[in-house]
Point group: none
Chain length 186, copies 2
DNA sequence: TACTGATTTAGTACTTGGTACTAAAACGTG
DNA sequence: CACGTTTTAGTACCAAGTACTAAATCAGTA
């Protein structure tokens, strides 16, 4: 047995997210198991057959063309005082959550905080160097995250930005970003 | 002859633009002709079969949306040992970088590492609690990031996962993820 | 009216990527 | 060793076709 059942199923699931057009045959070949095993796996995982997956994707494309562009700042910036502070708002939508439990994936909260931290720093080139973060409580579909950033420390090449994200009055995320910058005021 | 051949074919073409998911059978029924006639029509018009049309739409949708849409794991998982280790690969494309300097936005590297950390943990519910991260050097457009995750510590409700991301042999990102889990082995 | 070419229909064999089901084998662990 | 789990094998069947052959029908005309 090269892979345990659980591992194979997890990989299978992950592989299909990246490449939804794999046939059972191809997957069987990849994992060195029989086609029946793959089918049992799909059944257990509730993954539909190739044609079902294609149809679903085609339909989604057909009835509403996606318009999710990569934004400069994740979320909407509502306040901004360069080198001082900033606020951004992000509504947790379908595309931000795990399908299973409708809890927001951590990296979206991180992205909101990180891009805000970078946005408040006024320099030509701004890059995050290190960060220490805490996901205080899970955020659910529909909740609105308000991230508040404050610059706390400035050295010649670094700026420290503290970000705290709230849902209503509750802190849900907290992060300290150490941001590198260069060519300031050019 | 209720409709001339030309008229039928013209209608058919228009109908398929509005409703691409029609089967030959349904179209035959609609126009009161045999299924073979519809097939001849499609051939003359160069219209592919239903499955081909669906596949085409799904593919177009996939290419367009793939990077913006939530994948289970950001990047492609190449190795996975549950509760032990995992490896994922992510090519830095246009949509990952700042337009200005073509350097990858930090949150994409974070997302790759974070989602891999979550994927290696084998439990029903897995959420990142805290993380300490370091962006060791900027990553540029075209570079391929290989993230390697290792479970370093396990307690009843928490798993610590260390992730290091490389471009070639160079470390570009480093993170320690403290991951919360529940309903293990149920 | 009979003929002719275009159009339509019928029917068969075969394809892909499956489902649904039964049954046998192999594995792995107390 | 026995027993449950996991894997494999194999069959019948399905949708929605392709590819092909052949017959029937129609429409206009010689």
């Amino acid at each position: 047995m090269r892979l345990s059942k659980r591992e194979r199923q997890k990989k299978l699931k992950l592989a299909l997210e990246a490449e939804p057009f794999l046939t059972d045959e191809e997957m069987a070949r990849r994992y060195g198991v029989s086609i029946q095993t793959i089918r049992l796996d799909r059944m257990e995982l509730g993954i539909p057959e190739l044609r079902g997956r294609m149809k679903h994707m085609a339909e989604r494309n057909f009835d509403h063309v996606r318009s999710l562009y990569p934004e400069e700042v994740i979320g909407q910036v509502t306040e901004l005082k360069l080198d001082q502070s900033g606020v951004s708002k992000l509504e947790i939508r379908e595309e931000h959550v795990f399908a299973r439990n409708r809890i927001a994936r951590g990296h979206h909260l991180f992205a909101q905080a990180n891009s805000l931290a970078v946005a408040v720093v006024d320099a030509e080139l701004v890059l995050t160097a290190t960060a220490s973060i805490r996901f205080v409580r899970p955020v659910r579909l529909g909740e609105i995250c308000v991230a508040k950033a404050h610059v706390t420390h400035v050295t010649p090449r670094r700026t420290q930005v503290d970000v705290r994200t709230f849902v209503e009055d509750e802190t849900v995320f907290q992060g300290i970003f150490d941001v590198y910058r260069s060519k300031e005021d050019q």
